[in-house]
Symmetry: C2
Subunit: 448 residues, 2 copies
């Protein structure tokens, strides 16, 4: 049974929700404008300079209370100070990632990217927001606008966090969520909850959540075999690093056999970088890949098994090998307590209550670093013309007459703009409910 | 026993030889000037436009009788018409190749190449005459100068042949000796003997010959595996062409086991070209390599075995495969009859008679196309500060106090310029002896 003051607080919440919904509607035009600008001007990981400048310009116009920028490259943390209470216990962080991908956009949209930039190895590559981070930034900007407009009734602080380099820094660079933490981005303004939603091919407006591991743990791997250069006509003068690499690539495909098969794990080597020619055995070959699994112990085991395979194949060809694991990202774990605490808010603020549990994926998102550090949840948000088919087995498929289904990173990936307004509303409801104490893993645990 | 007229012809030859030697000495300064200019301005295969323009300019100045140019790209055949007889039976062709390599010169010479150009895949590459074709062109130009100066006593015609693209055309282009033949470069002026010498790390001034196979037969191979692109975290959605390629590379290293081991054969894959990334399984991977052996039957067997390996590994990964064999070059075979006919001339015209039999190599030279078509020989000519060591086994080594030993194609490859004069003399003596009938495989056969 609730006390009178709690009940009156809940009545007050209803007033706040109404103000949020009105402000969200007002922000819809800005949301689309911001999103299209960002979509048309994508930048690669650790290169988000113009993106950051644009965001800062909008944040200033919106009137946030404080802006920290240049965090671990181009990261930004802006603070919106609630005026409802002199003291407060909670600080919500709404997080968007900033970087785009070396993918040639094929959506045919009038504001499609035509940008090219220098890729990781210096070559010109097409760049586009094929992972939808443009949507995330626009949604969080719009949420900032809404929260600033209700600052007078906010009983705590809201941070809007723009994180660069979610897709991973170029080889030999640092960047992303861990780098922002290490740079002290949240020093003195530590949030008590982190929230965000990744746009996905789920049906428009659907919120997908998973208690437990939602995204995989990840490590990038670069294995360099070094041998002896020789003319291809005289292989007996060479120590052939490409033969070592070929053996290693084959072996790596069976490395997950060393992991208990109930623990999901993948090892994929996607790129070979060599300095040979058709008629020259080059002295060096580097194989690039990525490891995915759901827990740190498995990640360590995968690394060990891959290292053994690399050493063995190098030795077999008289080569040396250098194995580097880079840019480790922990699994994204949505604690059950946080999910339980958030579900009422999500169901209330999501149109028609379209909140569903979804399966885990082997993709990763380094928002996991923030969630692990501060608590909170990270969800999926559907933005495509898709539907759940049930026959013969449950699966997502393109809805008839719609724009199709395209996975994140696909050249055809798209997001329905009108649906993004719903995401803004959900962000703001979650923020307010956390600041009022209605949504909190600790609070829920106490009430349980 | 010789007839009187033959004996008097031989006396006449001595006069010609003396004139050659004098003219060669006169040409020495031009030789060095031409060679340095060409060395400083190298061009890649099928891109020898400036080289050809320069050669044509010199040929005009030298005063050859006719110039065919633009043959199969930038090929040139110039004719020098002897005035000694109204009718003639023989036409000697002196052949030089024109193209340079994507190798960064490291000789430290004042006229070292600083040129860069677009490589086969569009990237900027350093370019240098690391195979010594600059020497070949300068030597043949100088020989043209000498032969023009003794035109009045030449009993036949001499062709100077500048052949582009000896190192192989860019993938998907044609070029080189076969293309020149196909373009009718010698139509109506078919030579009765082809002669040339490749600069090599043999000791300065040494002529190396081999009766039988001197250079290997060669075929370039490009094997393209096509699968299905997917994110690296979801390999079950991919058909991984890199796994097929890795299996194929490993298998290709044992393909020569299918060839009788008394028949030399090498298969080397030197370069992998993929469109994947560390976190993307690309849909296509191409493996580039080269096959070498000494006869056409073995080449056919190697191709068949490689094709089987490619098909098998593609099938195993659910991929398709396209196997292309390109730019076939026949083995360079110096017929015993030609070598026997040439040895007296070589021993006479080479300082101190430094003419030695040398072992075959698995390198190739598409001068073999001309030699096979018209007869003749192609030899090695030493231009480095090296010596033959005999202990514990015969081998070439750097001479003490010299500039070292660097194989063709090595960034440090160099040629002693003063020694090149000897090569000019040998070219001219061979030309004259062939035109007078002293050096001819058929004539030798008759006399044997």
């Amino acid at each position: 049974m609730k006390t009178t003051s709690e009940a009156s607080a809940r009545v007050g919440d209803a007033v706040i929700y109404a103000r949020i919904d009105e402000a969200v509607t007002d922000a819809a035009a800005d949301l689309v404008r911001w999103r299209r600008h960002l979509h048309e001007h994508p930048e690669l990981s650790n290169r988000e300079a113009q993106t950051a400048a644009y965001l800062i310009e909008q944040l200033r116009e919106i009137g946030v209370d404080d802006i920290r920028s240049g965090l671990a490259g181009h990261g930004i943390v802006a603070t919106i100070r609630g005026r409802a209470v002199p003291q407060f216990d909670r600080r919500i962080a709404l997080r968007a990632d900033m970087d785009a991908l070396p993918v040639k956009e094929a959506t045919g949209l009038p504001y499609a990217s035509r940008i090219e930039a220098r890729g990781e190895t210096g070559e010109r590559v097409p760049v586009s927001h094929a992972c939808g981070h443009d949507c995330h930034m626009a949604v969080v900007l719009a949420a900032a606008r809404v929260l600033v407009s209700i600052r007078d009734v906010l009983p705590g602080e809201a941070l809007v966090v723009f994180q660069p380099t979610e897709e991973g820094a170029p080889l030999d660079e640092e960047g992303g969520a861990q780098a922002m933490l290490d740079a002290g981005a949240f020093q003195g303004i530590e949030p008590t909850m982190v929230f965000g939603m990744h746009v996905s091919p789920l049906p428009r407006g659907v919120v997908g959540y998973r208690a437990g591991v939602q995204f995989a743990a990840s490590s990038r791997v670069a294995v360099t075999f070094a041998g002896t250069q020789a003319h291809a006509a005289m292989p007996w003068l060479a120590r052939d690093p490409l033969l070592a690499a070929a053996g290693f690539i084959t072996a790596a495909a069976s490395v997950t056999r060393t992991i208990e098969q109930t623990r999901p794990a993948t090892v994929t080597l996607g790129h070979v970088e060599d300095i040979g020619r058709y008629n020259v055995v080059g002295e060096k070959v580097t194989v690039h890949g990525t490891l995915r699994c759901q827990d740190e112990a498995t990640l360590a085991n995968l690394k060990a098994a891959l290292s053994v395979a690399a050493e063995g194949h190098a030795t077999a060809q008289g080569c040396t090998v250098d194995v580097r694991f880079l840019q480790d990202v922990p699994a994204l774990v949505n604690e059950r307590a946080w999910i339980d605490a958030a579900l009422p808010t999500l169901r209330r603020s999501t149109p028609r209550g379209l909140v569903f549990e979804v399966p885990p994926t082997m993709g990763y998102d380094d928002v996991s670093v923030f969630v692990r550090e501060f608590g909170g949840i990270y969800l999926l948000f559907g933005v495509q013309d898709t539907q759940m088919a049930m026959d013969p087995s449950p699966r997502l498929e393109a809805a008839p007459g719609g724009r199709g289904m395209f996975a994140n990173h696909h050249p055809g990936f798209y997001a329905d703009e009108e649906t993004l307004v719903d995401s803004v509303r959900i962000h703001c409801h979650v923020a307010v409910d956390h600041l009022t104490g209605l949504l909190d893993a600790g609070a829920t645990a106490v009430g349980a």
